[in-house]
Symmetry: C4
Subunit: 234 residues, 4 copies
């Protein structure tokens, strides 16, 4: 049985519409922050109050991503009858997003890019070492590498979830693939996608000009605690 | 005998006009994606239903590239009487584009740039190794290097065709020169030009921070097959 | 006792308003010069004729930084009742800015960023060596590294002041953190933030392609003297 | 005796006005091509039919460079009474430009930048080796390094002229300083400034990923001859 958006409650329809607008607007952040080229990359957001999420359609250019083009999916990753044309199928990475939503109830948004430096670390299967106070703040330590996995089953989603569960980081570098990031909401996941590229670029540059000096674990803990708890409340 | 555009059938004139508009619009993608500086780089497109192609005029800046300035050529690479001023000669790379159209009937578009990282691989005669799932998708393996060749005869065109025929890749890095890309149409060739620079930049960065981990051939085959056959149909 | 802006003299209120407009406008220079992403980075300016300074609010995106959103602080780093909503607290780096204003009376503006290459030098605790005549002009020698320090007390501010007092440079690279820059006014501090990233990027590139050639001390002295004294007067 | 613009012939006044507009417009190319930050960099142009040249004023930001702000100088590098306010003095690099105009009568335009990669080669006193066909076209071989020289006498101008006279290249990398480029007119000098940064960036990237393969001298000669003589006429 396929869900039909126009048959759902008005509250859910309103929440879907608001989520579509938010996700469409957030997609503009990806090219603005030089995280994507052509049609690569995608943002999704859970729909508050429903077992649904909204994601970018497959193969559409960034300047054509209006709210109306955003695809609505169940948590199994299947598109519902959402008012978009049949030719708009959800992103080819939808199964990975859906797996995250099913297994991490605290996650409200997921982002995937192939941003240059984060993907470079992924290509050499190397975590980004915590050598910046900003990494203590945002990632609470190194940014971990997830397993090699290819599209076709749940292996990408499972790799993301298993890696993130063992880390404070909201970003995982999937091996030979690229970063996936999560957040309490889609804006948080986009912010993590921006920050992981920023620290990857900085650390890559640092390694060319000297020997990386790690931040001590006690300082990482202190930075992370303050940023997530104290700073976050103001 | 020189062809005169206004003496051809109305269908062909219409197809030429549509192709000129498409090629002019696609040229804007080159600076937008940071693939070219000044007047470097060129896009061409076969005219559907005619033994003609449309290409950028030589030495014209990107902000002056209107549809009307695009030059129409026969498959021998000679400009026809196309309504543009005589001072607008076709790109100095026209012979290479023409050679591709004559020898690869499945090709509908050709792009040439000197994009930084793809050209850097060309300067050291090194293929871009397949260390990213995105390369499996788009290139079906490594991006090959073509022979050293200079303008003046068919040697550039021949080098492009011979290299691409032995590869799944729609991009070839001509030695000491830069990338040429092909597509079923001009948009596909522009996409390949964008993607080859993207993967070249990522792989160059990766090599500075660790040891490249290749994607296994079976996974490359699987990715390429899915992307070209399954994904491509939706 | 908390200061209330609307109870201060009209002259001071006018000076505060002018400073807010200047600081808001200068924040636009940070993303325009690719020095910051998301909400990172901050500019502050001393208010002429008052023991106050104006600084960016915490956690606000760059496209929302109007003059009215700028926060007014005493030289202890405490926000006064300045007409902004309570939710707008001053930047989390405010204590460091305040420390500089208290201990360096000649300083009228302070800027902090995490710009990529300056921060890369900070991550390896390496000063930027003076290998460019432009560095002689602007920095009077190498750009020094400050101590590792984290938020919570005066240690960042103290590290900035102690390092800058022993140098001609208006920029210090705080270890594992990023650059702080000063100026006679906020524009000067922003200029120093732009220039330190520029020379960091150039020197990082230079080291990849050869052996750095230092500028002799006598030439550095000559360049610095001319630029600060002769050139500065015209 | 100081020249007064309004007392010169109407033809010269017209030529000055046209040159001012051209030079102001060309300055926009410098930030658009990422060759400069803040107020760095300058373009000058000889005034056709007069022993005068037009150059950027010192210390003015790029968004304030109108035609009326351009300064008119004699070939000795002294500002004439040109209608601009006294506070607008010519660029601090004016003496170097003037020296070039006095000693290279075939030169109609001069550009100076601190563009990142060209300046990086200058910081290590290394010519940019000719490993790209584009370098054969534009530079006729490697891009040479000029001597170390600092502001205050004719040593920068002399270093530029002596280096360029022994080379086909329109660009010289002044040691520890940055590139100076020349052209038949100012547009040509700007193009050379764009191209020298482009090839510097590409060659720097190439060296990180493999061993540079030089272009053979006979091919360089052939490329240069065709580009300058054949291609240039069409």
């Amino acid at each position: 049985m396929t869900l039909v958006l126009s048959e759902l409650s008005q509250d859910i329809q309103n929440a879907v519409q608001a989520t579509r607008e938010e996700v469409a607007a957030l997609h503009a952040e990806l090219p603005a922050n030089n995280l994507v080229v052509w049609t690569a990359g995608n943002v999704s957001s859970r729909v508050p109050g429903a077992d649904l999420f909204v994601i970018k359609p497959s193969g559409v250019r960034y300047d054509e991503l209006s709210a109306d083009a955003m695809v609505v999916c169940t948590l199994d990753g299947n598109k519902i009858v959402d008012g978009t044309p049949d030719r708009l199928s959800p992103s080819s990475d939808t199964a990975a997003h859906a797996y995250v939503y099913r297994h991490m109830p605290e996650v409200g948004g997921v982002v995937h890019t192939h941003s240059t430096y984060a993907t470079a670390f992924a290509a050499v299967h190397r975590p980004i070492p915590c050598v910046l106070t900003m990494m203590g703040d945002e990632f609470g330590g190194e940014v971990p590498v997830g397993p090699f996995a290819i599209i076709g089953d749940d292996s990408i989603g499972r790799g993301i979830v298993e890696t993130l569960r063992e880390s404070r980081s909201p970003a995982v570098l999937m091996a030979n693939h690229g970063p996936f990031t999560i957040g309490k909401n889609a804006t948080g996941a986009v912010k993590a996608a921006v920050m992981v590229e920023e620290v990857a670029r900085t650390v890559a540059a640092a390694e060319q000009i000297g020997t990386l000096v790690p931040v001590a674990q006690e300082h990482i803990d202190s930075l992370y605690d303050r940023y997530q708890n104290v700073y976050g409340q103001h």
